[in-house]
Structures are given as structure tokens and as C-alpha cells.
């Protein structure tokens, strides 16, 4: 087959966007992969291991990240967002706003000397679920792609007050470049667009106070736990309580936090039933004396091998599943959370004191989605996920713009990957079919 003159723009480089880009690239189609963060990988890069096979997440993701970066047909735009689009299916024009990194991507050796010397400390660290802080010279994780630091323009002393410049002096590779400017790139002849902007989490927008979150440090979210048990996370994989460093012996996992609720979101987040069992299993692998309690309403485990996974959890990992409704959480004088709940089996009100509480918080649409939807002109559903028809699952309301993964509904990695390939097929039909 001959050269394809038209390209595809993929927005969002989580596992879904990455898969779509790789499939299209492998078909010989030019892809522009646009990611707003400094590096690619999305949420999957933050996870420790993944259900139901317990593969180490970054281990199976890293080869894909590299493949994207080196692929002859894929151009990567990090720190970038879509500013404007024009045209229609088969012939869109897309303006990409690329923010300056202030570090030369191909020169930086990822040594970290800039971060070590930078005097601005205490900046929130999204990748580590805000459990630790970082300086104004940042990289999300050591295996990040591209493997280059970036200077946070809102915090850097030089960029704001023209003082400091320590990183510039300290960088042995001469990679720091304060003359970089934000730039707009115009892409023409774009045949199709794929929206793969993924998810955010309830804690990003709510305080979750009734569950003791932010009142007690021994109440953490599932994403925080992923980082806490991850070997490359802030505790180097040795799970301990943030209040006193004690290793927890009893953990309670609370399901449907802000999901399936009148107060939060009405829908089900689809993946938390499964990742909870996974997290309890990994925690048990670190400490075989651990007891886990999962407080749930319905256990939703429909995917391949999922029921077996739950059975293993109960049999081999000391996980107790309690069908129940949570009333509230208090904390005793030793910072131990006390859960008050109604047990569905006995219809009694009970209390349980544990060392650590983990909240399975609701998956919400990516926070910038409204703005992006405006720019693209696509419809969102009543929850602000990208609107699709159940029987046209990767089609948005505009012809030639497709979607996949958690941008359109909460779903797990296997399904996100499958849908991403699906969106790639639809885009390929436009490009190849003419």
C-alpha cells in the first residue's frame, strides 16, 4: 500500500491514546500524539501492579512508552493541548499549543542535578498522589518518556523574578534553556481525531470529609495506596502508616466512595471492585499477617478471570468481603480509624477499628474535558464523559472524531486497550478508505 498523505491526531497519551497511536503508526499512518502532561503513560504509569494477572504496571507499560517515542510514524507533543480545530472529517486542521519545557528534550540526561539544587521546594506532586513534594525542576518518575526534566514556570524563581538560575549553572549537559517559548503548531490534512483524555478522581474535586479523608492521615485513597505500596513510590514499597510509620495489620477497603451515590456521582466506576482485591493482595504479599476487610454493596467482577481472582483473594490472601453500608468514620486517640457500618448479612450496626482505611474513590471525567469538548464541538453526556451511542461505541457526535477508554466511560485497562484499537480502526477507515 502506498503512502498515506493524511494523518491522525490522538489527544491524551494514557494507555488508550498510546495503543491507538501505535496501531495507526503500525498501519503506516502518521500520528500526532498530543499530551498535556510533561510525559506520557497516564494513570497506568502510577499503578503498582494490575489485576487480574498482577503484572507490574510500569514493567508492561514501559516498552509501549518507548515504542511510541521511537516510532517512525508517531510524533509526540508533550505539555501540549488542542487550541483550535477547523475543517471536517477527512480534512481537519488542528492547532496545538505546545508549552515550553525550558529543558532541551534531546540534551537532558535525566541526571536530576537540577532538581537537587533547586531551592523552591514543597510543590505538590501529582504523580505521587501528593504524598511527597517536588522542586520546580521536575520529572514524574525515573522511567518517564520523554526522559527529560521540565521547569515548572509557575514556581521557578528565574522565570518569575529573574533570580536564581541555579539549575542552569548546575546542569552539566547544558540542557536548561530559559529562552524557550510557548508555541502554536498548525497541523493540516488531519483525516481523523481520537479523544483519549481518560480520567480524574473524586479526590481531585471533593474533600470526602465524611470518610475521614484529609482529617486523618490513616485514611487514604486507592490511588495513594498504589503509590504507597509501589516499589518506586515514596515508601519504596514498604507500606507504613503516614501518622506513625507503623506497618498496618488490619486494613479496611471502602467501596463505591462517591460512586453510585446521590451525593456524589450516580454511576458505577467499574474498576474499583477489582483493584481493591488487587491492592489487598499486594499488601498481603508485603506482610502475611495482614487482614483485609472489603466493605461493598455489589461485587462487580465480570471480566476474564475476575471471579477466580476474588476467590483467590478470599482463600489465599486473608480478604474478608463484607456486604454492607458505611455510615461514617471516626478516629481514636491513636489515629486508628473506626468504621461504623450496617452489615447486610445480619442487618446489625457494627463497628470495626483498623490501622488503615483505603477509599475506592469515584472515577470522574478528565477535568479539562469541557473546554476540549467546546474546542472540538463534540457532545458530552450528563456526567461529562464523551457522549457515545451504545451501538456506535467509539463514535462521538462529530463525524471523524472518535473516542476510547475512560474518556467515555470508566473502564479497566484491557477494555481501554481494545477500544483504543477500535477507534484506530475507525480512523484508518477514513484515511485508507478515502
Amino acid at each position: 500500500m502506498g503512502e498515506n498523505s493524511k494523518s491522525v491526531v490522538v489527544i491524551g497519551a494514557g494507555i488508550a491514546g498510546i495503543q491507538a497511536a501505535l496501531d495507526l503508526g503500525d498501519m503506516g499512518i502518521q500520528v500526532h500524539l498530543v499530551e498535556k502532561m510533561p510525559c506520557i503513560g497516564g494513570r497506568m504509569a502510577q499503578l503498582d501492579k494490575t489485576f487480574p494477572t498482577l503484572d507490574c504496571s510500569i514493567c508492561i507499560l514501559a516498552p509501549k512508552l518507548s515504542e511510541c517515542y521511537r516510532h517512525d510514524n508517531i510524533t509526540l507533543y508533550t505539555l501540549s493541548e488542542i487550541q483550535k480545530i477547523g475543517g471536517s472529517v477527512g480534512n481537519f486542521s488542528v492547532d496545538v499549543l505546545k508549552h515550553a519545557r525550558y529543558v532541551k528534550e534531546d540534551v537532558c540526561t535525566n541526571c536530576g542535578d537540577c532538581a537537587t539544587i533547586c531551592p523552591v521546594r514543597g510543590i505538590t506532586n501529582f504523580f505521587e498522589a501528593n504524598l511527597v513534594t517536588q522542586t520546580a525542576a521536575q520529572i514524574a518518575f525515573p522511567a518517564a518518556v520523554p526522559a527529560a526534566y521540565r521547569i515548572d514556570p509557575s514556581k521557578c524563581l528565574y522565570l518569575n523574578y529573574e533570580i536564581c538560575g541555579l539549575c542552569y549553572q548546575n546542569c552539566g549537559a547544558d540542557a536548561i534553556d530559559f529562552t524557550q517559548k510557548d508555541s502554536v503548531l498548525s497541523l493540516d490534512n488531519v483525516g481523523a481525531i481520537i479523544v483519549a483524555t481518560g480520567l480524574d478522581l473524586a479526590e481531585d474535586i471533593h474533600t470526602l470529609n465524611i470518610y475521614g479523608y484529609q482529617k486523618c492521615d490513616n485514611v487514604v485513597t486507592a490511588m495513594e495506596l498504589e503509590r504507597l505500596i509501589c516499589a518506586s513510590g515514596p515508601q519504596a514499597g514498604h507500606l507504613s502508616r503516614l501518622t506513625d510509620g507503623k506497618h498496618p495489620k488490619k486494613i479496611a477497603f471502602l467501596q463505591c466512595i462517591d460512586s453510585r451515590s446521590q451525593k456524589g456521582q450516580m454511576y458505577c466506576s467499574s474498576v474499583c471492585c477489582m483493584y481493591t482485591t488487587k491492592e489487598a493482595m499486594i499488601a498481603y504479599e508485603h506482610d502475611n499477617e495482614l487482614e483485609s476487610y472489603v466493605f461493598y454493596i455489589d461485587m462487580r467482577a465480570g471480566g476474564k478471570g475476575f471471579q477466580k481472582f476474588l476467590q483467590r483473594g478470599a482463600k489465599e490472601y486473608n480478604i474478608k468481603y463484607v456486604k454492607s453500608k458505611i455510615s461514617h468514620i471516626e478516629v481514636d486517640k491513636d489515629d486508628n480509624p473506626i468504621i461504623t457500618y450496617e452489615d447486610y448479612e445480619t442487618s446489625e450496626i457494627n463497628q470495626l477499628t483498623v490501622d488503615l482505611v483505603v477509599l475506592a474513590t469515584c472515577i470522574i471525567p478528565s477535568r479539562g474535558i469541557n473546554k476540549l469538548a467546546d474546542v472540538l464541538g463534540i457532545d458530552l453526556d450528563h456526567y461529562d464523559f464523551v457522549k457515545t451511542n451504545p451501538f456506535l461505541p467509539v463514535e462521538t457526535s462529530i463525524e471523524g472524531i472518535y473516542t476510547c477508554g475512560c474518556a467515555r466511560e470508566p473502564m479497566d485497562i484491557p477494555r481501554s486497550v481494545a477500544e483504543a484499537s477500535g477507534a484506530a480502526a475507525r480512523a484508518a477507515e477514513v484515511i485508507k478508505g478515502g
Binding site: 498501519m27 508492561i60 514501559a62 516498552p63 516499589a231 454511576y267 448479612e345 478508505g433
Partner: protein, 561 residues
């Protein structure tokens, strides 16, 4: 390019894999140790050798130290070998002169409680890897022509979707359906969750799509009889209405769907007042439901020891049919007895709410205390109230799972792919390669792989089409060069016993017209079975020659060859 005569100059890169390896054993010390080994001229340890930084270190190592062989001691070749091979190739080192030493999956992960022994084992493994690397030979990948055609087996919603997408991408596509009509399960359904669309309207649209595309050939009342060949060049025999058609096919997609489960012996199933959801659908379609008190029971024949899986569509099917019954006649009492209601995501949870608002009654039961269906009453223990509820019924509907087809096994053997324990097709990697099989050029979609709804059947149909397209979009295909061969200088050793022909699981070995053993290189996966079986040592496995393997064994024993 390094040629055979060149002195080996080996570089060893030891990976910490975050703390997966480095957390247990000292990778710096391993790198230092590697320096002492024969032919090793450069070593380095990396936090993540697979990161862009690590790969740059390999490249610089090759450039600065003129390496002609590279070893990475790290995780597993299963996921990472292609990456490192690609990396050394780009620096001008033949990719087969790269050697992987697995010190994570087969060492630090399985010996987590024994750091000292794991460290010693890592040293052994690296010493063996270095010895082998010195004996490695450059190889070239095999390049074959690819036919840009596709075969889709199964004309349900997933198969029709896949075939339509491939045809739209310009590929000649053959859709094989064994029934007289396309449609699969969809043919017999009434309305569809989650938007109450008429199943027959969706089906008509899908059919119109596939019937109006000139790249697409539909073969109904057809069956695949035989498949020979390999990716890009499958020779397929199809029997259509008694006639045999021969097709040359580049890629094959499996979309054979599922079968229905007849719940004989469950709750006194009789097909009259105790029926399945599937039977209820036909009744609803024919407006043939007179019952006023309807009780549905979930998870009948699923999520038990025999079938330890959730069929994922039956809760939604129950909700759908309950809502239809309520809409037809609001006076109808519908109760659903369930264990966990499976309505994940946005659309389905909304649908569940709609059913509750419509007055459908939900009663939980636990598998320890199964409901019992009696003459006119269903008894179910309600944990919440702590007592038995008696619900009158005149129609009891059992929600049964989708089960795998009995003849999946025969098809699986024909295309050389595996099934999982429930008889569904098993993909190459559950998470990252959900549509691929380990066998090149063969893909799977829809409920043949696992019970899924129509939404997922459609997205998977597209997905398999994309994966297939990555292969047939190119005129040629590259396959692994580490294959078995029978060199001319070994012909005199071969006695023609044909043992190799029998043992080869990929049917790569034949006797040609001259009665000589012939190995089809593209079919060979380099598994090594033939080489190990041949008592005359006539067959050589490239990349795993006797000399290479012995060098590892001697290195383990501390001896050099």
C-alpha cells in the same frame, strides 16, 4: 556489522528495575563482577535499562567501546527483548548478537526471601549469558510477502463489524457464517439494553453495511474445513453450500460467539413456567406473556464451582426484560433475585435506577442459602430481614450464562491457538494484547473470547480489524530468524526417520518430492523440539546451537569451552 571472525567485545548492562531487582541484590556489584568475565569490555548498571535514559546508555556503550555483543541482565525477554534488540540494531549491532539474562522473573521475584542466594544466582546467570554471547552468530529476519486479504469466521455482530471495517479500509474480506443467515444471537433478541433499540433494526443496519461493500464477500451456510500456511499466506479451504472454495488469506479473525446454556436440573426448569431469559425474549417478541407475577433468578449456572465466571450480560438482560414487562403492563409484579447486580459504568447503573423507579423489586440471596422454586411460590432467604420471603409466581425466569461453543476446540486446533479453562479463546496477553493470539496473524473478538454485551462486541470487532490491519497494510512481513534448519553438510546424518515431522507443533517440517526433510522457515517458531528429538543431531536450531548451549552449561560449572 560484526562478522564471525571478529573478537567478541561484550557489554553487560545490569538493570535495577526500580527496586524489583536492585531492592534485593546489589546491581552495582553485579556490574563490577561482570567486568571480570571473559570478553567483557564494558559494564554499567541502570535504574531502568528500558527507559529512554537506559537505552541511551546502551547506545553510548556501543559507540564508545565498540561493542559487538550486548547483554542486558534484567526483567524478562517476554516483554522486553524486542525493545533491546531494536536498540542495538539501530546502533549497527546485529539484533541476534543481543542476549537477555533474566535476573528478575526467574531470580529476584521467585527468591525474595533469599537475597544472598539470589545474588549468587544472578552471578551464575550472567556468567552463563556472557559465555553464550561470545558464541552467538548474526542472523537475519525472514521476510515474506503478505496477501492483503482477511478471513472473518463468524457472522454475529462482532464478526460483521470487523469485516465491515476491514473492507472499508480497502482489504478484500471474506465473512464466513455457518448458519443460513447473518446475525448470530442478535437474530432472536427483541429489544436491546441499554437504549431499548429494536434488535432487528440494528441487525438490518449491520447487514446492509456488510452486504453493500464490494470488498466484502459473504459466505453463509459455510464452514472452514482446513487451514494451512502462515501469517500473510494462509491457504484456507471453505465449504459453502457443499462446494469447496480455496482462499489465500493474510489474516484470520475469530468471531464465533457463544452458545446458550440449558439449565436442566436448576430450579425445576421446564421451558413452560420456568424458562430462561432467552426464551422470555421470544415470548416478548411474540407478545405472548400472560403471567402477572414474574420472578427472575440471577446467576443460574454461573459463578459456581462448575462455571466460575460472571457472564456479564444476564443482569442487564433481566433488567431490560423486567422493564419491558412493566411498560407493557404496570400491574405486572416483577421481582429479581440476585447475588451481586452487575451494572458497571454509566449507562448500566442508570438503567438499574430506571428499573428500581419502575417498581421492579430486588431481593438479594446468598449462594449458601439458594432460593427454592415450589409449586406457586418461590422461597428466598432474605439476609437483611433475617427471614424467608415467599413470593408468588406464575412465571419464573432463569438468568443463565453465555457458554463457549463445543466445537471451539476443533477450530482452535486448526488455527493453532489456545482456549482457557471454560472453553473461551485465550488471547496473547489479557491486558495489553487483548485481540491478538500468540500465533502471528490470528485475532479474536466478541463473545468468543469472553461473554460481552453488544457495545463491547462492536468495539472489539473494530479493534481486531485494527490489529489485523497493522499486518496486511504492508506488502511484506518480517518473522524471527532464530529457526531450525537442516544444513546440507548434515544431510548425510539424516536417516529420514520423520520423527521431527511428528513432533513439530507448528507443522513446519515436511518431506519434499525428493523425499528429503524440508523445514518451512516462516512456520518454524524456533521452539527447538525437533532439534532435541533428532537422534542423529542433523537439525540445528539457530540461536540455540549445541555449541551455544554447551558453553552456558560449562560456564555454569566453571569450565570454559
Amino acid at each position: 556489522m560484526s562478522d564471525k571472525e571478529e573478537e567478541p567485545r561484550i557489554g553487560v548492562f545490569v538493570c535495577s528495575c526500580g527496586s524489583n531487582i536492585g531492592g534485593l541484590i546489589d546491581v552495582k556489584a553485579l556490574a563490577e563482577f561482570s567486568k571480570t568475565l571473559p570478553n567483557v569490555v564494558f559494564t554499567e548498571d541502570n535504574l531502568y535499562t528500558c527507559s529512554e535514559t537506559g537505552l541511551a546508555q546502551i547506545k553510548n556503550g556501543i559507540k564508545d567501546h565498540n561493542l559487538n555483543r550486548v547483554i542486558v541482565a534484567s526483567c524478562t525477554p517476554r516483554t522486553h527483548e524486542p525493545l533491546f534488540r531494536d536498540c542495538v540494531k539501530k546502533e549497527g549491532v546485529n539484533e541476534y548478537l543481543f542476549n537477555f539474562v533474566n535476573i528478575r522473573d526467574q531470580n529476584t521475584w521467585c527468591h525474595q526471601k533469599y537475597p544472598e542466594e539470589a545474588f549468587d544466582k544472578a552471578k551464575d546467570l550472567i556468567r552463563m549469558g556472557v559465555a553464550k554471547a561470545a558464541k552467538l552468530e548474526a542472523l537475519e529476519n525472514i521476510i515474506v510477502d503478505a496477501t492483503p486479504t482477511a478471513l472473518v469466521i463468524g457472522g454475529g455482530v462482532s464478526g460483521m463489524t470487523a469485516a465491515h471495517s476491514l473492507a472499508n479500509q480497502g482489504f478484500e474480506t471474506h465473512l464466513i457464517e455457518r448458519e443460513t443467515e447473518l446475525g448470530g444471537r442478535l437474530k432472536t433478541l427483541y429489544k436491546l439494553f441499554p437504549n431499548d433499540q429494536e434488535a432487528q433494526i440494528l441487525l438490518e443496519n449491520l447487514k446492509k453495511n456488510v452486504q453493500s461493500n464490494e470488498n466484502l464477500k459473504i459466505h453463509t451456510s459455510a464452514q472452514v474445513k482446513n487451514i494451512e500456511g502462515f501469517v500473510g499466506n494462509f491457504e484456507v479451504k471453505v465449504e459453502e453450500n457443499g462446494n469447496i472454495i480455496d482462499l489465500t488469506i493474510g489474516v484470520i479473525l475469530v468471531a464465533v460467539g457463544t452458545s446458550l446454556f440449558t439449565p436442566t436440573g436448576y430450579f425445576g426448569y421446564d421451558g413452560k413456567t420456568r424458562i430462561t431469559q432467552y426464551e422470555l425474549e421470544s415470548k416478548l417478541k411474540n407478545n405472548d406473556v400472560k403471567a402477572r407475577d414474574i420472578v427472575m433468578i440471577q446467576c443460574v449456572g454461573s459463578r459456581n464451582n462448575e462455571r466460575l465466571y460472571c457472564s456479564s450480560v444476564c443482569c442487564m438482560t433481566a433488567l431490560k426484560n423486567a422493564l419491558i414487562l412493566k411498560e407493557n403492563n404496570p400491574e405486572t409484579n416483577v421481582s429479581i433475585l440476585f447475588r451481586d447486580l452487575y451494572t458497571p459504568g454509566t449507562h448500566y447503573e442508570d438503567y438499574y435506577r430506571r428499573a428500581r423507579e419502575a417498581g421492579v423489586v430486588f431481593v438479594e440471596y446468598s449462594p449458601e442459602k439458594m432460593p427454592s422454586v415450589e409449586e406457586n411460590l418461590i422461597k428466598v432467604h432474605n439476609e437483611y430481614l433475617g427471614e424467608d420471603l415467599l413470593i408468588p409466581y406464575d412465571l419464573c425466569v432463569l438468568s443463565t450464562p453465555l457458554v463457549s461453543n463445543n466445537d471451539n476446540k476443533a477450530l482452535a486446533q486448526m488455527i493453532k491457538v489456545p482456549l482457557e479453562e471454560n472453553g473461551f479463546f485465550l488471547e496473547a496477553h489479557v491486558k495489553l494484547r487483548p485481540m491478538d493470539f500468540a500465533t502471528d496473524g490470528v485475532f479474536v473478538c466478541g463473545s468468543a473470547k469472553w461473554p460481552v454485551d453488544i457495545t463491547e462486541s462492536i468495539s472489539q470487532g473494530y479493534a481486531a480489524a485494527a490489529r489485523a490491519s497493522t499486518i496486511i497494510s504492508h506488502d511484506t512481513i518480517e518473522v524471527e530468524g532464530a529457526t531450525s534448519f537442516l544444513p546440507d553438510y548434515n544431510r548425510n546424518l539424516c536417516t529420514g526417520c520423520e520423527v521431527c515431522i511428528k513432533v513439530c507443533p507448528y507443522k513446519a517440517i515436511n518431506k519434499n518430492e525428493e523425499d528429503d526433510i524440508e523445514i518451512t522457515q516462516v512456520l518454524c517458531k524456533g521452539c527447538g523440539v525437533c532439534g532435541a528429538t533428532c537422534i542423529n543431531h542433523a537439525i540445528i536450531i539457530r540461536h540455540f546451537t549445541d555449541q551455544q548451549i554447551l558453553s552456558e552449561i560449562y560456564a555454569y560449572g566453571g569450565k570454559e569451552v
